[in-house]
Symmetry: C2
Subunit: 341 residues, 2 copies
């Protein structure tokens, strides 16, 4: 209804010039105590709130950073988002969050929106290969940092996690606790993350001459898919003694089907390790060992890399790759008296 108060209204009400009000807001040291108080009172009485659009128009840029993730519902991204928000707050910037939901159309809409908002920069976990679009952004002076995706380092900075190392960690842990007949359960290896984790696991297994690794395909990355694989194993017999699942949901499914038999025990008969360390991992029937990704570091570092690009004019990009972390719980406790290492 009644248009909100402007800096001009405040100036009139306090009987000062608009420039003075602006100084009170932005450079309090330049203003005398008396004036400051008078202006402050006017601000309070009128309930004045800065109009960010006008600020931004004058400044030529906003104080916001765009962040587009593939799925806010995914704990991995939720955690990244939170860390990014906190890191951005330290720089005095706010984060505009967009959820593409793995949908290129939504992703594109958010990029449009953020461009119109003149965000300072963009953090994005892209749906597909949108380097063309990002190249354009770069030309327009919108620096971009790729999240959870390795980038052409001559063009972009990026933060990602070394999935090969994660796979190695998981398999190595199974081997270290005495297991030798390993199985890898994962969705289609066309998913880069799955392929990398498998590759890392193979690398570990090759270090032990007497160890083997069987690859079991799963129909998706869900609890139900894991349960099918588990049921298949139980029916088939000839069980592995250590199972590495490409994510925790699969692992929980496998755990359900194995424990449902009431004859197989975890970890005594079969050790089980997942990936992602979701909240549920610790509360599984048998607490699930897992590989934790440093999500907070991802979010924080993404903002820091963006800040670097904003500060320097020399376009020097960096690809920061984090190493995931092994989280040991009961599901991989050593089988026999062998030392836990």
């Amino acid at each position: 209804m009644n248009r909100s108060a402007s800096i001009k209204d405040v100036a009139n009400h306090a009987s000062v010039a608009v420039g003075t009000v602006s100084n009170v807001l932005n450079y309090p040291d330049r203003v005398s105590q008396r004036t400051k108080e008078r202006v402050q009172r006017a601000i309070d009485e009128l309930g004045f709130v800065r109009n960010d659009a006008a600020r931004q128009l004058r400044a030529g840029h906003s104080r916001t950073i765009g962040l587009i993730v593939l799925d806010v519902g995914n704990p991995f991204f939720t955690s990244v988002v939170r860390a990014a928000e906190d890191a951005a707050a330290l720089l005095g910037s706010a984060v505009l969050l967009g959820d593409s939901g793995h949908n290129a159309g939504r992703e594109s809409n958010y990029i449009d929106l953020f461009q119109e908002q003149r965000v300072q920069g963009l953090l994005i976990s892209p749906v597909g290969d949108i380097t063309d679009r990002l190249d354009l952004l770069r030309e327009r002076g919108v620096p971009t940092v790729l999240v959870d995706r390795l980038a052409d380092q001559t063009k972009y900075s990026s933060v990602s996690v070394d999935d090969d190392a994660g796979g190695y960690l998981a398999a190595r842990h199974l081997l270290d606790t005495g297991r030798r007949r390993l199985a890898f359960v994962g969705g289609p290896t066309s998913i880069r993350q799955v392929a990398d984790r498998l590759q890392g696991a193979e690398r570990a297994v090759e270090e032990e001459p007497d160890a083997t690794l069987e690859v079991l395909d799963s129909d998706g990355q869900t609890v139900l898919a894991g349960r099918s694989v588990g049921n298949m194993l139980v029916k088939r017999g000839d069980l592995p003694d250590g199972i590495f699942c490409a994510n925790d949901l699969l692992a929980l499914g496998v755990m359900q089907s194995l424990t449902m038999t009431h004859t197989l025990r975890i970890p005594e008969d079969i050790a089980l390790i997942g990936y992602d360390d979701i909240d549920f991992a610790i509360s599984a029937v048998v607490p699930l060992s897992s590989i934790r990704q440093p999500t907070e570091a991802l979010g924080r570092t993404a903002i820091e890399l963006l800040a670097e690009e904003l500060e320097s004019d020399t376009p020097k990009h960096r690809a920061v790759i984090f190493t995931p972390e092994l989280v040991v719980r009961q599901s991989t406790a050593p089988a026999k008296g062998s030392s836990a290492g």
Copy 2:
């Protein structure tokens, strides 16, 4: 680096007036085909992108709606957010998302930010009682709709879910499937939602003279808390034949501890029903019956109520209360030949 192109640059490049460029963008029908094409070419060549700050300054308001939720990681809110975004898109507005994380400070920061952004309106699931703050917003002409919280209808519109009805649904379902010795497992009843669900359950139990309801307090709303309660029950003996948990995590915990004994069967010996219908409910060892909240409807309706307030000058508020829905799965299958209803 190179300041991005303005509408003036486009006008020069196409040899037309700025007003014409604006018309091409906003009222294409007013512009001749020839001119339109010329302007469009200039736009493409210069890579012109509208400056939203300038638009907004002129328009006096933004085309964004603020949405502050308690926890984006919570599937309940994730779903609400998504629905709100889609509904807002239909109105040509974008949603600015803020995650208060149950923290009043963060919440306040977001309100400040959104006010500076001159959002058209605010949807909020408030941390505590911030009606003072919201009253101020209302005076300043920022309509607010409360989400998942019943509001003073003379002042605000709100969307919420009837937890009493949900509790009734759950308990009634246990009774309908032949159970008579019921137990309610929930965190502190100081949480309104928990208290309401319990109250609804009590209402249902009172309808059956031979039914009883035992209330079991839990230490929080987690899987682990549920497991403690389950373990306690198993140790104690004298088991109920139907358990209603105030949320699915508790129910999954209870399920774990009961099935771990390998002597109790769900649903034959004890039926179990949760609340929220999280993704995991369907993939539990025994698929979990639950109460589903209409999250999409919540998000959509919140936006619609806001739109109503924006359109009419008469401040007429509405409190829309949704009724949750029973989702029957195996965990509450009828105990004995009794008809499933």
